[in-house]
Amino acid sequence: MVTTKLEYSHTIGIASFEGRGFMNPIDIKYNNGILFVLSRSNASNKNNRVSAVTIDSEHKFEFAHWGEDKGKSILPTAIVFDKNNKLYLSDEHLNRISIFDCNGNFIDSWGEYGCDTGQFNRPSGLAFNKQNELFIVDHLNSRVQKFDEKGKFISSFGLFGTKEGEFNYPWGIALDNEENIYIADWRNNRVQIFDSSGNCLKIITNFNGSEFNKPSSVHIDNRGYLFVSNWGNNSVIIFDEKQNYLSEIFGDASLSKWCQEFLDVNPEQSSWRENAGLYEEEKKFWKPAGIETNENLIFISDSCRHRIQIYKK
């Protein structure tokens, strides 16, 4: 078996309730040189938001903060860009899809609670196909629904269960170049691959002799490589375009630029960190979620460490 070790590049992020930094980032998308990071935050602090940052740690702007009004979010789950550079955001509390331009300006929203066709019960992962049709993992309805970009229902597949083609609290979604659909079937501890019509093609339950533990996110890069966030085991697993296992990573984070700056101006905190000396622990993923790639880099949202770990392809 051929295994490859990814080369770590650098880390972006610092725990922050607002402004520069993230609070439990669970999804990430790259668009025209900017990383859009979705912070989930928590019920009491209510600091969820989408932050726009550069790969060099320049904080640009943020939007989609806490609230029920249009352009706001409560429990956001995923983001995705369509082919017109519009950002779509799913919210599992509001059962709503919100649309923004790439400057964070609100455009539109749609969606309502329910189990009928076109309705949602906690929408999570999002993905567009080449026809600019949006796939939404409607996770408590145990199905994947397809809509046009305006929110008009087209089709759906899936139902609750553990058999082939069934889902148990599914979460992330990705499409490959042939428009096959990959679903992180979270509570079934597997990744299911479907054709564009929703017929199950393949099920991946293990890798390198191990089983998945609550996979949260899937991503396909331009080579067809499959990345899976093995959320329950705090690792990311990489497969080649034929789903052959390549490697598993557990995190290699160094101090981000923002963290270093924080410690530089807070010598007491820096001393506290040195006294603890948990440098190896600091490197590790803690509940990795959304994964994104561009031409050269792999971005992994490290949700409980409030940062994005970046690797070279």
């Binding site: 610092i14 725990a15 609070m23 439990n24 669970i26 989930r40 935050s41 928590n42 019920a43 009491s44 602090n45 409560i74 429990l75 599992e92 509390h93 408590l140 609290y169 979460w171 979270w186 509570r187 609550k214 949260s216 329950g232 923002w258 963290c259 924080f262 410690l263 807070n266 905190q269 506290w272 960190r273 006294n275 603890a276 948990l278 622990e281 600091e282 803690w286 509940k287 949700s303 409980c304 460490r305 409030h306 940062r307």
Partner: protein, 455 residues
């Protein structure tokens, strides 16, 4: 001769005290068992995470790396509101109030959750084991400054609270069985016990706290404690304290006040103390004797204890059966107990909460009534729908019958005759457009009465 209805009434009483109460249907199901068998079921929970732990973690990811007590809330409140192992949560709350660690000073939600879980795991076992575990709890060590207790300069904080508030306490005559020198010796024995330093949480979130023992900073010399001489360490102190008759009395008094009555009954407490000593401090044996006693089951004990904010909030949550899976509302349940005066995972001091009538003042009473009234009127909750359905199934026309049936569906609760007359009068004076509105009105009135503040 225990009748079927008596059995239901007793089981409902047991569930309100050993847990947070339950629905009419749950009482029906449990009443197929003998009362003593229900006690046995409650005192023998199988330790382990809830089946929906993964959902809690997924939906409330910030509670996985809980930076503060508030961040940790969704984890514990879900179990308080939903766990089928009710006594496991109730005893955790008891120990949380007795072996109290304040979340604001500790400022580490992860450590608080670890501590609550410690109470679940060891809270019904031998008290000596629990006391040793809490003495090795990094949150407790930090909270009571034991990291500042050194061989050459012992800090007496932990040693003092261990004896005064956590174990031996004071007896019915208001006197302790230990001396000031014993406190100093205990402090010396615990030198070197601390928590490992962790990185600050302000840039990467928190890291789990761990216990540490620094042998080089431990007073390794001979000591005198409770009249005995030896080179005692913290383990020895815990062992000596845990088997002391004063500890048996103190712990049993606190258990009695928490589970049975706010008025000390030393005859009953002494009986429990004997069980404690005979069973090497095994808490489940004490609780078994307590719950199976005629004293606990007597009518005089029922509905005389003021519900704590947790009793009220999680009791209502269970009654209305509102949550199927964790959601934003369940994650924020702790706000309700906070508004009523109980900041979970942040007791006001090392003494824990002052229970009983002190829970209620004009402000908290309004919060209690508003919360209960709002929840019981929410017909989207499964439990409310079910209560209405059960009452409708019984063809009732008389106000008195309606009130009595409603009291049964609320868990065989009691209200005074005066309150009943007031509700009857209300029903006579008002017209209702349909039966459901009438039932909802009675439900709202009952949960708004002073009687409902007692369990």
């Amino acid at each position: 001769m225990i009748t079927s209805i008596d059995n239901k009434i007793l089981i409902a009483h047991l569930l309100r005290r050993a847990g947070f109460g339950c629905t009419y249907d749950q009482i029906e199901k449990l009443s197929l068992m003998e009362y003593d068998d229900v006690v046995d079921l409650l005192i023998n929970p199988e330790y382990g995470p809830p089946k929906d732990q993964d959902l809690l973690d997924r939906y409330f990811i910030a509670s996985v790396e809980a930076r503060t007590a508030r961040h940790a809330d969704p984890q514990w409140t879900w179990r308080l509101a939903k766990s089928e192992k009710q006594l496991e949560e109730k005893i955790a709350l008891f120990w949380h109030g007795l072996l109290a660690v304040g979340g604001i000073k500790l400022d580490h939600g992860l450590a608080m959750l670890e501590e609550i879980d410690l109470f679940r795991k060891y809270g019904l076992g031998k008290f000596g084991t629990l006391l040793l575990k809490i003495s090795e709890d990094p949150g407790m060590m930090y909270w009571l400054d034991n990291q500042n207790s050194h061989k050459d300069a012992p800090n007496e904080n932990y040693g003092r609270e261990l004896l005064e508030l956590f174990s031996m306490g004071i007896d019915e005559n208001g006197e302790g069985s230990y001396t000031e020198d014993d406190v100093k010796t205990a402090a010396r024995a615990f030198t070197g016990w601390a928590s490992r330093p962790t990185p600050p949480p302000f840039f990467l979130g928190p890291f789990p706290m761990e216990f540490s023992f620094d042998k080089s900073d431990h007073d390794n010399t001979e000591k005198t404690f409770l009249g005995e001489k030896g080179n005692f360490n913290g383990n020895d102190i815990v062992n000596m304290v845990a088997k002391h008759p004063s500890t048996a009395k103190f712990i049993c008094k606190r258990l009695y006040l928490y589970f049975v009555s706010e008025t000390e009954d030393w005859d009953e407490i002494n009986k429990l103390s004997e069980v404690f000593l005979k069973n090497n401090g095994e808490i489940k044996k004490v609780l078994e004797a307590m719950f199976k006693s005629e004293h606990f089951k007597s009518r005089d004990i029922r509905f005389k204890k003021v519900k704590s904010p947790s009793d009220l909030v999680f009791g209502i949550s269970r009654l209305v059966d509102k949550y199927k899976i964790p959601n934003l509302d369940s994650a924020e349940l702790a706000i309700n107990t906070l508004l009523m005066g109980q900041f979970l995972m942040n007791p006001p001091s090392v003494e824990g909460w002052h229970e009983g009538e002190e829970w209620i003042d004009s402000g908290s009473l309004i919060e209690r009534i508003n919360y209960a009234s709002t929840e019981i009127s929410n017909t989207s909750s499964y439990g409310v729908k079910r209560i209405i359905e059960i009452i409708k199934e019984t063809n009732i026309s008389e106000p008195n019958d309606l009130i009595n049936r409603t009291l049964e569906t609320l868990g065989y609760i009691d209200i005074t005759e005066k309150t009943k007359e007031m509700i009857k009068d209300h029903l006579r004076k008002n017209k209702f457009t349909n039966k459901e509105d009438k039932i909802l009105d009675v439900l709202k009135i009952i949960v708004s009465t002073p009687d409902f503040q007692y369990c």
